[in-house]
Symmetry: C2
Subunit: 716 residues, 2 copies
């Protein structure tokens, strides 16, 4: 071979080699092109996706005050009394709206026992002269479908007696009367509305021996700017306004305790039913009517702090001048009526078996523009904006339910029946319940009731929403400058969820009237003047309704879409630590050092377990790809609140099972640290017997056990 030929061969060989190498490289990297994440890797990406924060702004941007206003106009267009055609109609309306919004929706009805004034007979209070003639009779003004002022579930009755003024008819008021040697036995008492749930007033009056009770709204409480500055010029109560309301301490359908009121249900017989209901007749009257009664009273003047602001000398009684008597006549009837809950649903994308719930009632005593409709419009607008995002292709990780309850005004009837009808899967599958009753009761700041686990959900959401007054950077900053934070207690539809099933709940509402009114309730509450016009005096541009909708939608998004359920365990730890501190301050002497040590042990165990879980959560948030692992953590979080339930229920009301977040037995509206110790505290204060000590020991032992249970739940 010549060297030229040789070179040629070499070159050829090199070329072949080069072609080969290029081929290898092209082959190798062309293969790269098909090396895409396969479906299984995509599946993991999907299962592990974090909640999408960009959704927040999209939700906010879609909120439309025009839609809100329209819904409010329709809902407040008629009285919406539960059990009436008008409220079936509003149920249909909400149901149709949910479907329009793109949600699944169903209407669920129950046949329940409600209480109405007998249309064939009068409800009134009259003044009877010594000779038996009637010289005064209360008058209630109503129009059209408006129901006359009454207290639902008051027994019918026609009683005559001396009148006694009992201030707010709280336990402490009756103790005061007792200390003044004034017996209420056989009398009719008259009490001011306010400072607690009216049902407790009736119970206290009955226990003090009264045969009837009259409730009125003193202008000192409901018309603070004077009796000339009232509705329609202001949102204060005019002289003929009266507050309706139920007076039952047992909630839910009275005939079917513990079980839903279905066709197959066992209904209490009359004597069983009556044993659950109030025992003495009760009627609410306006302050102009009250004036006519109170101005006739004899007896000592009331203590200064009992005085209202009617232009009279407030006297305790007993009795009226010139031996006049009071006649109280109540004619109410118990009736089976059909009620309608509406449940709108968004099915979750990844964990459809986990539920975040938003609810409010829809029934009203009359027009209910604030209570409940200001909440219903927030709930509906939240549903609408979520529906919009569904249409854009987004779907939250978990399922969301939008619940419109009926017959809340009769004692949380709609929500209780539904919870009783769905208690099993709710217990295992519900993440949280947000209540938005009367969401715009005012325009000053937010009145927040929440369990500790959910406080941060509120804070984080409200921190993303601008302060409607523009004074602070966010609603959160405004709120936290003077936080109005309360224990859950009772008073609305969160009760069956939280006190009954241990589902973490929160209940925020815009409250207080800027500069003029500092109560979370509103002066026109449950009167016929709480109408569209009244609402517009509070929130003319619907900016508070919009603000609430923003906070609620973002809270729902966070709960429904975050990979790890955004419960704040630290807040719970802090809460428990403070709670047992308070407990020991009150009862340390009674429980003794050994129990005290066990209390601390249980709280320490909870702290240790919580710290362990928190480090697991931190690791998941960093880089853990295992969707089962994240679910396991979520399951513990979901269950945590349930661990504080006791099956037998609290002393005095077995429907309330949560050791921490049940209503206060002395004031159903309120929340106290350990609601099961309410009656016992009184026992200690008054009797201080071994019996009381044993009751405390018994209850504290349960508290210790449940704190250990919480710890074990996080550990197991």
């Amino acid at each position: 071979m010549t060297s030229r030929e040789y070179k040629k061969v070499i070159w050829t060989a090199l070329l072949i080699l080069l072609a080969f190498i290029i081929g290898v490289l092209i082959g190798y990297f062309s293969r790269t092109i098909v090396f895409q994440p396969d479906s299984r890797t995509k599946l993991l990406d999907k299962l592990n996706r974090e909640g999408d924060n960009r959704i927040t702004q999209k939700l906010f941007d879609k909120i439309d005050t025009g839609q809100i206003d329209n819904n409010l106009r329709i809902l407040t267009g008629k009285p919406r009394l539960a059990g009436t055609e008008n409220n079936r109609e509003s149920g249909d309306f909400v149901h149709r709206r949910f479907l329009q919004y793109g949600l699944l929706s169903e209407t669920i009805d129950y046949n329940v026992t409600l209480s109405y004034p007998d249309k064939t007979a009068d409800n009134y209070v009259s003044v009877i002269e010594e000779d038996g003639t009637e010289t005064f009779k209360t008058v209630a003004i109503v129009e059209g479908d408006e129901v006359q002022p009454y207290n639902a579930f008051s027994p019918s009755g026609n009683v005559m007696g001396n009148l006694v003024f009992v201030n707010y008819a709280r336990e402490s008021d009756f103790q005061k009367l007792k200390s003044m040697n004034l017996s209420c036995s056989g009398t009719i008492v008259i009490a001011k509305y306010g400072k607690g749930f009216r049902g407790n007033k009736v119970k206290n009056a009955y226990e003090a021996g009264a045969v009837g009770i009259i409730l009125y709204s003193d202008p000192g409480d409901y018309s603070p700017s004077g009796t000339n500055s009232t509705y329609p010029n202001t949102v204060f109560l005019p002289n003929d306004g009266a507050q309706r309301g139920n007076i039952v301490l047992n909630k839910g359908d009275q005939s079917t305790p513990g079980y839903p009121a279905k066709e197959y249900s066992y209904r209490l017989r009359e004597h069983e039913l009556n044993s659950r209901l109030p025992k003495i007749p009760c009627l609410p009257i306006s302050f102009s009517n009250a004036y006519s009664l109170l101005s006739l009273m004899t007896g000592d003047q009331v203590p200064d702090e009992w005085k209202g602001s009617l232009n009279i000398t407030y006297r305790i009684g007993p009795g009226l001048t010139n031996k006049r008597k009071i006649n109280l006549k109540v004619s109410n009837t118990l009736e089976y009526r059909r009620i309608f809950n509406v449940i709108g649903k968004i099915k979750g994308e990844l964990e459809p078996d986990r539920y975040v719930m938003l609810g409010n009632h829809r029934d009203a005593w009359v027009y209910g523009s604030i209570d409940p409709m200001s909440g219903t419009i927030v709930m509906m607008e939240t549903a609408r904006v979520f529906g919009q995002l569904l249409k854009e292709g987004w779907r939250p990780r978990r399922s969301v339910l939008f619940c419109s309850w009926d017959a809340e005004e009769f004692g949380l009837v709609g929500s209780f029946e539904w919870v009783e009808d769905n208690s099993k899967w709710l217990t295992s599958q519900a993440v949280a319940y947000i209540n938005v009753d009367s969401a715009v009761s005012g325009n000053d700041t937010i009145h927040l009731k929440t369990v500790p686990l959910l406080q941060k959900v509120f804070e984080d959401a409200s921190d993303k929403v601008p302060d409607p007054y523009g004074k602070y950077n966010s609603v959160y900053e405004a709120w936290s400058s003077h936080p109005r934070l309360y224990k859950m207690g009772g008073g609305s539809d969160h009760v069956p969820f939280l006190a009954g099933l241990g589902i973490p709940s929160m209940y925020p509402k815009y409250s207080y009237l800027k500069d003029i009114w500092d109560s979370t309730s509103t002066p026109l509450y449950h009167s016929r003047y709480e109408n569209y016009h009244a609402f517009k005096m509070i929130d003319p541009e619907l900016k508070f309704a919009k603000t609430m909708t923003s906070i609620i939608s973002e809270s729902i998004r966070n709960l429904a879409d975050s990979r790890i359920i955004p419960f704040d365990i630290d807040r719970y730890l802090e809460y428990i630590s403070n709670a047992v501190e308070e407990l020991l301050n009150h009862f340390g002497q009674v429980v003794g050092p050994k129990m005290e040590e066990w209390i601390h042990r249980s709280v320490n165990a909870f702290h240790v377990s919580a710290a362990r879980l928190k480090s697991i959560i931190a690791a998941i948030n960093n880089d853990n790809d295992d969707p089962l692992y994240a679910r396991q953590v979520n399951d513990k979080l979901l269950w945590l609140e349930r661990t504080f339930l006791i099956g037998e229920g609290l002393p005095g009301n077995s429907m309330y099972k949560h050791l921490l977040h049940s209503p206060d037995s002395a004031n159903y509206y309120g929340g106290v640290t350990f609601p099961g110790l309410g009656g016992i505290t009184q026992c200690i204060d008054i009797q201080n017997t071994t019996e009381c000590h044993m009751e405390i020991h018994k209850h504290v032992a349960k508290i210790i056990q449940r704190i250990f249970d919480a710890s074990k739940t996080l550990d197991s």
Copy 2:
């Protein structure tokens, strides 16, 4: 270019092209080599792995009868009465074994109220002549640490009276006496053991007015081959054998109902405690002692079917010949004693927060070779073989707990306290509980108690295990040729799990003595002769112990390792359908056509939901890769049994909350279709009042609700 050169160039080009193509191919496919599943794909493979059937044979192969025998010898080496040093020692032994086997293990103690014979006083029955002299007195033979025959929780008492023979002291027996116009009021009754729980006998006797009750084991029931063919030659009861046992109808620690007996717990005060305990003294005696009493009786002969096989004429009484009286003296004391549960644990690999449990008690009345030790050795050997596989690197998907309970003989005390101490996380996290008390009580076939959900787990496991008699291909085939299948009822430590928390339970045991004994209990039961020797007469080669260990290990493996929890929903549907059929046969007239329709509606709803879930499960088993989706299905399965609980508990015993699988109130050992209807059935049979009808309506309404709840749980 010459044609040759031209050809050369062509060839060269072709070669280059070939090299290129080969290069591309090599490059392309070499790339395949590095295209391995990444860590995330591996993660999914792991999370979705199916249960590994090959593990089954490995478990079987490791079972070692030498180990089993050794454990049995040690455990039966001393009396193991709860609350004594001997049983603390056995607890330590099991704990050390668990650790040796490679498990995590802990000992958990409770301070509980137990009942023992007073060592300073006698327990006896004597015959008193008319002149007051004592002419006969029962004698009980015990040695060493053996506790004398007694009935735990019998009150102390010293009563004198006429003797009445009451057969088995069942409700029906007392009804028979009543129909014969024979009053038990003020008498001491003597009853045969058998045909039901002794505690119910005591209750029935008390309700019939008796002031004391004597229990004895008639040779007709316990020595069927005659009084000469007994222990130590056979496993039949000799003439001086007596059956110990508790007589309480409330289970768990008597002082701390509903809560664990911890140092911080509230303990019932004496009057509260006594109200829960039996009211009349009760003592068990041997049949030689009974002979001396029964042979003195006067009165009519007993009905034929009441006769035992003592060589006497059985007479009803009342009274003995020559006006002799019976004196029954019981001196028992209630004592706080420490008891010890041992919990061995294997942490699951993928879902460690889900628990499969295997349990049995460890305390015995004396040596307890059958009850409980034949089960304890099965439980321990199961733990050992699982431990061996752990060491080989295998770990089940879910966690497994091996539970050794104390003080079962005193009324399921150890298991109840532990369940009360862990009720919250058990409710949300426990998959199933398998009970193996007295696992080798016999050698004929398996006596199976199970909830419908678990029946297939037993069947599948037993189908993999050879028939120890070699007659059939498998234990399953042998068993199913004549299935001994029973409702769960009471009688052992599954009660707090199933009747209290709704955790699906199963309780299989080898039972009956081949060709000679057809009862699930054993003749030497609770006597001092139930020892190692007696056990070896039943299972000399430990092949039944080995067979039970195989079935149990495979059942645990299946429950703990299958991707989808192997619950048989079809069996539950079938069970419910039959149950409501039975209900309507009994009470169709009472509940009426509307309720009947609702019953059918609820069962149909359950069927529809179950069919839906089953198709989801089928799809997952086919090709669904989503581990969250599988978990969601498992969570529904886990929760299904819980949906049949009612929080208030069954009429008559609020500790039992399961509408279907609670003990029968008339015989605590037994299971009936609807245990909550037991008392009501009697009400109907005897009184047939509106009151009874309402009670039935009330209970049936709860049943309907819970069937709907089951359906909703599968759907939500």
